[in-house]
Amino acid sequence: MDFTITKEQEELKAVVREFADKHVFPRVVEFEANQEIPPEIVKEMARLGLFGVVFPEEYEGLGLDPITAGLVLEELVRGDPECSLAVAFLVHTSWGHIACKYGSEELKEDVIKRAARGDLWIGIATTEPGAGSDLTGISVTAKKEGEGYVLTGEKAYISGVKEAKEKGTWFKDGGGHVTLAYTDKTKGHRGMTLFFIPLTDPGITVRLEKEFGRKGWSFGSFTINEVKVPEFYRIGDEGKGFYIAMEGFDHARAYIALTCAVAGKRALEIAAEYTKQRRAFGQPIAKFQGVQFQLAEHWSRLEAAHALAYKALWALKMEQEGKLNRFEVTKIAASAKLFAVEAAKAALDGAMRWMGAFAYTEENPVALAWKAVKSYDWAEGSLDIMRLIVAREVLGKEYIG
């Protein structure tokens, strides 16, 4: 067991840290106020290569492993504790990986290469107005028609819809979503298939939600009105969509666990600094043991969450090397997300408390982090679903409803 990182990883982190310190952290409040990440920041992420970290070199990616991607993500979260950059990075990285792993050669040439260059963003669309945790309830359908498929229906609460729809503002070619649809509704889970759908298609109409937090990256629904995609935009075989999506969630959950642990730690650091400056009853509030002990408790839990997140990223790497199976990976990733979100929420609640009324303003990065982490009660699988997965893997399938 070795937690040291290589010189190369250290150098990669240093580059992202410089970018985050100089260009990101000073502007985080602006992300929330304007409800977008300034396009030049996203373009700089693209120039740095942040949208191609895990994609293979033959498709213009950097070919790095999930642990290294995590090390890089950590710097983005430190720079942006309101987590919009993290969302942009982790959704694209996880679902781009899935599109690359299961997509056809033509899809990789067309979509992954552009994604790796940062010309095209990749999102995920499973949720619908009528189905979230239970995906058998989805209604989007895909019908085979000639050389392609025609999709119809509506997706809801989807991240990155604005950035994907508006060509040229954040990404040269906008973006598209890995979208779950029924190709055969009679077969339930086994009748679902994944497709890449460019949101720039005129048959797609986007409606934005007013987000509660992490406002820098959009969130909303889109209707799919008879959108035709070529056959090579199908990701994996017909009927395999649900299972492939579950694999994508494992990737996203591991990165989310890391995001929450780091956002929590960053917030504790900011709050700790504040408690040293702020005085009450004749001393800095950092001197009150009531504050110290809570700080220590939260820090320790986040340290554990942080380590577990890296274990999940390590598990993804081991799976790629054929050393762990799907079930083992799913279990670790679910535990990691469950634990990190809970630990981070508790820590952020404490951090906000110590910062007094100043915490309850839109200018406070700790409050922004709290709102961002809260989204992971649901996004990429609710915490109850994480509990179900862990229980299923520990007890056996036959004990789960």
């Binding site: 190369e8 150098e11 990669l12 580059v15 410089e18 740095l48 290569g49 942040l50 950097l62």
Partner: protein, 270 residues
């Protein structure tokens, strides 16, 4: 046109880390993480912008122990094409005179290997000693023009460069014959952040290591014994002078105003 540019860079204790001192008050360099001298990044950036404008090759040169290479790699990641490291135990303890002599010898060797040299760029000073000696001294050793505190390289041709140099309270523009040594001040050339791919490929770029014998450096003129400087005390210099800019369209009035200023300061004029 294609310029051959040498950029001199130095590893320094990472300014982002708290400094550590030895009991005698000097920096404990071995205990500290090394980084590329922040001022040198401006010189690297200037070289990159020249290369992007007119083409050419950028060769990094440093005098440093081999373990410093990791810190210097950032220059390669930024876009320096190749690197020469002068590493030799006998160089330890060199002052600026010995260092500039040794580096000038490396530049001479590089110059003769390349057949043509256009510019030697360096940072204006290093963040761990701040003497600003090296650039001008190297120019002297090589017998070529040297300009320090260069803010911007305005024009470049096959025989000359036009540069804007910062002086106290203003600036001046100079036309300088090449090859020349320019120390770049940290203002105009904001160093780029290398991409992740650049970081990865920097590890594959070629680094040549020379010792002092390979360069023909006289061992008696480097290291502690070859260094005449003895540091007695260090303190921050205070600048008490004040500058004032007088401007006027009419030269006669300008001279009058200038003389009036001098009179006010009690300088007697006949």
């Amino acid at each position: 046109m294609g310029l051959n540019i040498v950029v001199l860079v130095k590893p320094v204790p990472d300014p982002k880390e708290p400094p550590r001192f030895k009991p005698d008050g000097t920096l404990d360099r071995l205990a500290m993480k090394l980084a590329l001298n922040p001022y040198d990044k401006y010189a690297v950036e200037a070289a990159l912008q020249l290369k992007e404008a007119v083409g050419g090759t950028i060769l990094g040169v440093s005098m440093a122990p081999p373990h410093a290479l990791d810190a210097l790699r950032e220059a390669l990641a930024m876009g320096v094409d190749e690197f020469v490291l002068l590493a030799d135990k006998r160089l330890a303890g060199s002052d600026t005179l010995a260092t500039s002599y040794a580096l000038s010898m490396v530049v001479r060797k590089v110059w003769s290997n390349l057949g043509k040299l256009d510019l030697v760029l360096c940072g204006v000073e290093s963040s761990d000693s701040n003497t600003a000696h090296i650039g001008p001294q190297i120019a002297e050793w090589l017998g070529i023009p040297g300009v320090s505190y260069v803010d911007k390289i305005l024009e470049v041709s096959a025989e000359a460069v036009k540069v804007k140099k910062i002086i106290e309270g203003g600036s001046m523009t100079l036309l300088v014959k090449t090859p020349a040594v320019l120390s770049i001040a940290g203002t105009t050339y904001v160093p780029r952040i290398p991409t992740l791919r650049d970081v990865l490929s920097a590890r594959r770029k070629s680094v040549t290591t020379w010792n002092i014998d390979e360069v023909g450096i006289d061992p008696a003129r480097v290291g502690l014994l070859g260094s005449p400087t003895r540091v007695v005390r260090m303190w921050a210099a205070e600048v008490k002078r004040k500058g004032k800019v007088i401007s006027d369209q009419d030269p006669d009035r300008l001279v009058d105003e200038f003389l009036e200023e001098l009179r006010k300061d009690g300088i007697s004029l006949r």
